[in-house]
Amino acid sequence: ACGSGGSSEQGGSDNSFKTAMVTDTGGIDDKSFNQSAWEGLTQFGEDNGLKEDAGYSYLQSNSASDYVTNLNRLVQSNTDLIFGIGFKLAEDIGTVADQHKDTHFAIVDSVVDKENVASIVFEEQQGSFLAGVAAAMKSESGKIGFVGGEESELIKKFEAGYVAGAKSVNKDIEVDVQYAGSFGAPDKGKLIASNMYNSGVDVIYHSAGGTGNGVFAQAKDLKNNDPEGNYWVIGVDRDQYEEGQIGDNNVTLTSMLKAVDVAVADIAQQSKDGKFPGGEIVSYGLKDDGINIAETNKDAYSEDIKAAVNEWKQKLIDGDVTAPSTDAELQEYQDSL
């Protein structure tokens, strides 16, 4: 939206569709779901010949206090469908949706049970499961790691899926799980990664936002000193192949892809077509490409890994296995192995 000039013109032609999103504090270039959501919205706009700012736009939040203000700003400028990106907006979407029953809302990564709100959730545990499969296949030491940002319900889905996936391949594999306590502490991330790699872990899956930067930094540094060594990172949300590049090597084994863009574009389209899934929980998983696993790193992500992952992917899609998303489910799953 930060092109030049031109404030959002109010109204326009009455029947033209108008949609917008409110970011959480990450902003539209957070290399994570805000960015992805904005890409989805842009795609949707382009597909439908809408103009940025007039047809589709975003408002940036700098703090939690900004959500309500931004949501209302969009309501007041007659936006038909408003996306709240991230579970942090759930509470406020709920409140605002109650006050403006004629406006449609959608919340990403959370559930808000209101008639005029569509809840978009992802089956991260499925993608994480596959990440676990890949990690276990790749690991030579029999030790892999998981670095989480904060120990929240959402991130637990990543952890549980990952552990389950890994154990499915190698029942005895050791998974070192650590939380940094923050999504914005690369120094802590690096400490944890350093500690894990030191203790023999050779693949780390991170779900830790900016903290993950430290994981990449550590892996790349080790790789630089020891190009033959096994220091792998599994990225999250988007394809983090770029982040893993170091000279001619790349430490990004794969990434768990979460297609927020697909979901956002999808819901926007439905809404424009008069099929807004209000009050529903719309879940995106492996089967509808809402969740996926990257195959960019051709060198590292070998054919046998690919084969194994695809095999498990099919099982998950077919419902032969269900990826666990909580500690309890994980326990149950492990016991069943």
Binding site: A1, C2, G3, S4, G5, G6, S7, S8, T25, D53, Y58, L59, Q60, S61, N62, S63, A64, S65, D66, V68, T69, N70, N72, R73, Q76, F87, K88, A90, E91, T95, Q99, G149, E150, E151, S152, E153, L154, K156, G181, S182, F183, G184, G209
Partner: protein
Amino acid sequence: MFSSTKFNFIIPIISVVLGLAAGAIIMLIFGYNPILGYQALWNGVFDSGFFMSETVNRITPYILTGLAIAFAFRTGLFNIGAEGQVLVGWIASVWVGTAIDAPTVIHLPLALLAAAAAGAFWAFIPGILKAKLGVHEVIVSIMMNYVALHLTNYLIRDVMTDNSESTEQVKQTASLTNDFLIGLTGSRLHLGFIVALFMVLVMWVILERTKLGYELKAVGYNQHASNYAGMKVGRNIVISMVISGLFAGLAGAMQGLGSFGTAFTNTAFSNLGFDGIAVALLGGNNPFGVILSASLFGFLKVGALNMSTAGVPNEIIEIVIALIILFVASGFIIRWALLQLKKGERK
């Protein structure tokens, strides 16, 4: 000649003008239209009653953290720990607000009290360590901020909820929101501003009218003389920190019982406490000055959200705020320049 009270008003006004002007220049340099930008800023607040009330909601906690810092400064201490005190106050208010059933007359005051007490306790620790062991309050407060951040996150996830990112809404009996105000503005405008304004009076009365305030200031200015006059220096340092923390804790309650009605996990600091430093100093550490500077902060922060509609990145406003603070702080040079101008006129 200007009297010094006149200067106290003129300097902030000139600083705001200079800050906005500098912001305009930066916008021009980078090819944005400052007129549209500032128009959007203005409209961001004054477009409708809704945004004005949101602005008031925003100002409320700023007033309280501003008071917290100002109070400490006035008594010779630097409470850089307001950030953590806000967090613990916030969660304490929500805890009482969700866990207890009681009529409003009891529930709401109790929740506010809990916030104040939590903030006060969080400030008590650096206070007592300074008083008893001479440990610098700044460093302990910085550490306490991090402890508060991690601890409140933990409490929300593992104690107050079952692994959820935010607590339930506080019960209506503990809420600062008010149906009448909500009906009037459609916003979550809550009664917290009354609490904040009341605390402004409280701070003023304590500092300017009470025995306690007299002692606290005396200790802040000169510990030796206070000791000579029979005051208990250590005790006063602790009391000072506790009162300061109490204000900050209440700022947390404004969020917990008012603007949000819940407590949620935080990835990073809210910056209410750090911004409070600027609010306090911009307001000359005077309780009434704090109202004005908090208002300016709230206005700029809310207005800034609308600037993207004019295509202007809202970091511009951060820059403007920072420059305003720099100009106010450099009041001496503005005063000097004004006096030179006056002199020039006379000649």
